[in-house]
Every structure is written in C-alpha cells, then in structure tokens.
C-alpha cells in the first residue's frame, strides 16, 4: 500500500521523500516460521519546508487506517527541518484523535534536534 502525494512540486525528489511500506522476507513469526510480514512504514530522504504539504496527507492516509500504535521508522530520514518536525507533530495530534498513536523511531541526531522542538522525543532521547 503506497500512497503518493497527489501533487509534487519537487519533481524527481518524490522518489526519495515518499513514504513506503514493503514486505520483508526475513520477518519472523512468533512460531519461528518464516513468513512475509508488513514492515513499519518509513520516512526517508529529505523532508523539508518545501515538501511538508505533500508528505502530510500521505502520512496521515498511510498510517491512519486502524486504531492502535503505528511505528514510523526514521532510520533513513537524512534531513528534517523545523517545518518537517512541525508537520510530524501535526500528524501525531491528528492521528491521536482517531485512536492512532504514531510512534517515531530511530531518528538521526540532527533529526532528533528537530523532533525535540515539538516534544516528539521521550525521556530517553528516543523518538516518542
């Protein structure tokens, strides 16, 4: 399930900024059977001021399907600015209203700086 921004002003940049959800052949089932599972949705590339209006609806569409916790992996998010972090904070708030707890994991150090501006980090410094 991949949701692309309806319009993207940055042209080819869409490839590195799109949200993705993929199948992992290495996911382990509790019964130790190898199976195909949904991996976590992820943000990657550079999400900045110019892209937040496109990424926000895609993120909300992708993660807002069912109540409960959704983990957003930031491992490959190379750059996030204050506007990008503001967009994530807005998404967290909006999703919370529908019962979805969006949890951000594994941010890089400079990405953490931006998340902290919006209290998106927990007490251990990991993304909350």
């Amino acid at each position: 399930m991949i949701h692309w921004p309806a319009s993207n002003r940055a042209g080819s940049v869409v490839v590195v900024t799109a949200l993705r959800r993929w199948y992992s052949p290495t996911g382990l089932h509790p019964g130790d059977h190898v199976c195909w599972t949904f991996a976590d949705p992820a943000l990657h590339g550079e999400v900045d001021h110019d892209l937040v209006d496109d990424v926000f609806p895609a993120l909300v569409d992708l993660t807002g399907g069912s109540p409960g916790e959704v983990v957003l992996d930031l491992t490959d998010l190379e750059f996030l600015d204050a506007a990008g972090a503001r967009m994530l904070a807005r998404a967290v708030r909006l999703l919370a209203q529908t019962g979805v707890r969006l949890r951000l994991i594994r941010p890089r150090r400079t990405v953490s700086h931006c998340l902290e501006l919006f209290d998106l980090l927990d007490a251990q410094g990991a993304a909350a």
Binding site: E46, D48, H49, D50, A82, R86, R108, T110
Partner: protein, 312 residues
C-alpha cells in the same frame, strides 16, 4: 534583621529578577533565609536549586523548614548547554505556571564558573524579556569566591534588581537584553577575502552548497551547520528573493554567514527565546542558535546578516 523586606514591593503578579553576589556564609544566609521564610509564610511554593555549599548552609539554617520547600535540589547537574538548559528551565516554569498563582525561586547557576557555561549570562538577560509576564521572583545567587570578575560584571548587567541590604533595588548597570547581547557576541568584522560565497534562491540548493563546502575539513560539524543554515535561509527567503551564503574558517572555528535584503531582524534576541508549546512557527532561529556554538548579528546595515560559529 528588623525592617527587612525580602522582595520589596513585589506583589507576586509579575517577574522579578535579582542578582545577588555573596562572599561569606553570613551574607548568603542573611539574604536567602528571610526570602525563603517570607515565601513559606505567604504559602507560596519556594524552590531552591543551588550548589553544594549553598544547600549545605541553607539546610543547617532552615532546619525542619527544608521539608516545606517545593524543591531543594542540586544545580550541578542542570547544565547541558545554554539552549537545552533554558529549555528544561522553561518547561518547569510552564508546569508551575499552570498549577500555582505565584512562586519564588532561589537559583544558583553554578555553571557560570565553567568556561562553556559563561554564555548563560545571555539567557539570564533574555529571561527578563521572555518571562516578564510570569508571576515569580527569581533570586539568583553568585559566589564571588568562585566566579571570575567578568561573570560578576555580567550579573549586574543582566539582573534588573540587586540587594541593598534591606530590600531589592534597581540595578544601575542593568542593560536591555538586545543591548547586552550585542555587547557580548563576537565582534562583526569584514569577511575575509578567501570566504566562499554563494547566492541561493531555495533552501535545498543552500544545503547542498554548504554540504559541499564542509565535506572534508568540517565533516564532524557538517550536519549541525547544514541544518542551522537551512533554517536561516528559510527565514531569509521569506523576506528576500535570494539569500547570500558565505563561509570561511577563523582560527579553529567555522563561520557561516547568511544575509538577505529584507527589513532586518525585528528582534535580535529571538534565537535565545524558547518557543512556546502551542506556538506554530518561529522555531527556526531557536534551532539555529542552539546548534551553533556562537552567533553574531550584524549591527545595522541593510537586511539581516547573521553569522553562526562552529567549533571543531
């Protein structure tokens, strides 16, 4: 101690900020104990965050009243750099403000004795502006036996109140925060001739240009510098069609300048003020100032010109 008015005419509705310098145990006790006693007698939460010497003395003097303090904690572990320390302080203030009508604080910023902690005087100065509406009295303690003369001189310029022996009085040396910060920021000289210069019209172009400049010699600081510059470029392009970037090394520091042709900065202290929790925008300067090791804003001239300094 008859006739002492520990908070003078303060009515508990606005911010009062006193810098108190002491040398002897007696001086400290004579100032702080009546201040604490008055707060307790009025039913105000009294918080003490101080170094070991001060806490030991106060514990002896206050006796059982220590248990009536809303906080009695060590200051030694508070310092985590200027921005992060102020941010933690700001969070605690907001929590207090949401729960009690007024409070008083005895605070000893012991980190002013450290080389990297001296920049705290800028935050003390800006506190007068950003906390003006908060209803608390902050009695800031400074141990003259430990602190260098330059720090003590800055105390007088950043605290509007001083102790006159029987009541707080206005400090003659006190300066407006903008004036104080201008006086302590790095001097604004001409750019060196070998500075790399780039004109940019979008933030992505600026980021990639700076990344290329910093790739080798400044790799360890590149991420911080790129993010900080990006935020300044975003601001610059809001008011100007293009922004000019310049970059050079100065002794053991990297200097990056962002200049625009807009109306100039409306408030040069903004980068030192923690953004409000519900505030939507305005975080870029706070972020940039916090990532850099030092910042200078050009005095006068056309547009805004900001230099960020990064140490190795």
């Amino acid at each position: 101690m008859t006739g002492i008015r520990p908070t003078g005419d303060w009515d508990g509705s606005t911010f009062a900020h006193e810098g108190f310098t002491f040398r002897t145990d007696r001086e400290l006790i004579d100032r702080v104990v009546p201040f604490v006693a008055e707060g307790l007698s009025r039913g105000e939460p009294v918080l003490v965050v101080a170094g070991d010497r001060v806490r030991t003395l106060l514990a002896d003097e206050l006796g059982a009243d220590v248990s009536r303090l809303a906080a009695f904690t060590a200051a030694e572990n508070w310092w985590r750099g200027g921005h992060d320390t102020l941010r933690a302080y700001d969070r605690d203030l907001r929590v207090l403000h949401a729960s009690v009508p007024t409070w008083r604080l005895v605070a000893e910023p012991v980190w002013l004795g450290r080389e990297d902690g001296r920049k705290w005087s800028r935050y003390e100065s800006v506190a007068n502006r950003c906390y003006a509406e908060l209803p608390y009295y902050s009695l800031c303690l400074h141990d003259a036996e430990r602190l260098p003369a330059t720090v003590l001189e800055a105390v007088a310029r950043t605290h509007p109140l001083a102790w006159a022996g029987d009541a707080p009085v206005a400090t003659p040396a006190y300066q407006d925060p903008q004036q104080f910060i201008r006086s302590v920021q790095p001097a604004w000289g001409e750019r060196p001739r070998n500075a790399a210069v780039l004109s940019v019209v979008n933030p992505r172009e600026a980021r990639h240009g700076v990344q290329a400049w910093l790739a080798d010699a400044w790799e360890a600081r590149a991420d911080d510098a790129v993010l900080a510059i990006h935020e300044l470029v975003i601001n610059a392009l809001r008011v100007s069609a293009a922004a000019e970037l310049a970059c050079w090394s100065e002794a053991d520091r990297l200097v990056v300048e962002v200049a625009d042709q807009g109306p100039g900065l409306p408030d040069e202290t903004t980068g030192y003020v923690p953004p409000g929790k519900t505030q939507e925008g305005g975080r870029g300067m706070w972020l940039a100032w916090g990532l850099a090791d030092d910042v200078a804003v050009a005095p006068g001239g056309t547009g805004a010109r900001i230099r960020l300094y990064f140490s190795r």
